[in-house]
Point group: C2
Chain length 256, copies 2
Amino acid sequence: MARRRQWAPLRRNAPGVHGPMTKYPSPFTVFPVTGIGEISPGDDIAGMIVEAVTGGEIGFEDGDIVVITHKIVSKAEGQIREIPDETTYRQLVEDEAVSIIRRRGDLVIAQTRHGFICANAAVDRSNVERGYAILLPVDPDRSAHRIRILMERQANVSLGVVITDTFGRPWRRGLTDVAIGISGLPSVVDLRGTTDSHGNTLEVTEVAVVDEIAGAADLVMGKATGVPAAVVRGLEFSGDGRVADLIRPPSEDLFR
Amino acid sequence: MARRRQWAPLRRNAPGVHGPMTKYPSPFTVFPVTGIGEISPGDDIAGMIVEAVTGGEIGFEDGDIVVITHKIVSKAEGQIREIPDETTYRQLVEDEAVSIIRRRGDLVIAQTRHGFICANAAVDRSNVERGYAILLPVDPDRSAHRIRILMERQANVSLGVVITDTFGRPWRRGLTDVAIGISGLPSVVDLRGTTDSHGNTLEVTEVAVVDEIAGAADLVMGKATGVPAAVVRGLEFSGDGRVADLIRPPSEDLFR
């Protein structure tokens, strides 16, 4: 993107914005978390992840970022609906949408009440029993926060949490995972005011690091292999951002 | 994205499409590559990266994926233009655009001749001497291929290459790195036909793994810190995809 220009800048000192990165980068590693079984409403996700991580070879270290696919969060929170037939499913999509952005055949691109713009209002029929669909968590940032606090207490470490979903992109084929809820992390890392190697001031460079973390974790959370979480170790980000801060407001939206 | 439904499917057996992932995932690590100096037109990028990697602690292993920011590729290929003033810069943006998708104030969202839709037709004034701008490589997939072959010969290993740039997204704030050229990798990983843990067939799940790899690498390629490359170790993807395959054709584009 030319000139590193954001389409619209976030406030410079917003609470979710991480300051310039001045430290030299270190390697980081992404571990798949295995051994988490099927999730039912009311299950203690935090406890199950802590058990899987600390009971395995990975363990926890301070600063680890736990990336969790929203599927298990939604299931634990009871965000499952029965869809006996196609009509019920279609109606559920319409109900979950606060606005329909585009329609083509069966495909609906809709905005959810969280502000996400994605296919079928994020109503998902994969990785759930036949005849059921999974919705997003009601407040994914809050879910991330709750899970983080519970995991930190139980494991006695400082963690970040990213809850993910898989979205399409308007001009690129193939899906990527993005963050839909975060806790203990910045929503963006702000490089504004820093200079590049030529002394040019980088005017606006806000990197959506949580989306890059979500995508990185997806590389080990193969969708059909029962790996609903990952641990990212070696990145040093801290902040109290919310994914809600990453939603582009309609006034800045050139493509709705 | 509900039902894991791609907005439009790629051909199932297209050459760039990696088959279902059946293997259990392993951890992977992303290493920053340091010690690559300033790049001038004609420089041997491949040789410089091999020297930096093999001369440091990382070394190369078979299957490593080398992620390279397009800046140094473009510089080596002479894709630099003098822009003495703002008017020249604006004209360069117009010249690089094959079509203007949106305009707001100084901001131009344009399609490049590669098919990428991004701000200012990817004409970039950061990380280059004052008064100059960097364009994209003429054919980034070909650049990736050339660099891969040269590196493989020199280091005697089998590698993948991803060339990246930083793009905005229409509905999410903050930038992320995406792949603009690849070699030795699949453009997408196709999970169609595999079943999830409930025995549901995943109808269409095409993951743009190269974009997820680009974003992961960006987490160590801090934009102002002089780290123009990264080595990703531990992912097992192979294929002969092209980023060109990831461009959504206008006929499928709901948002142009």
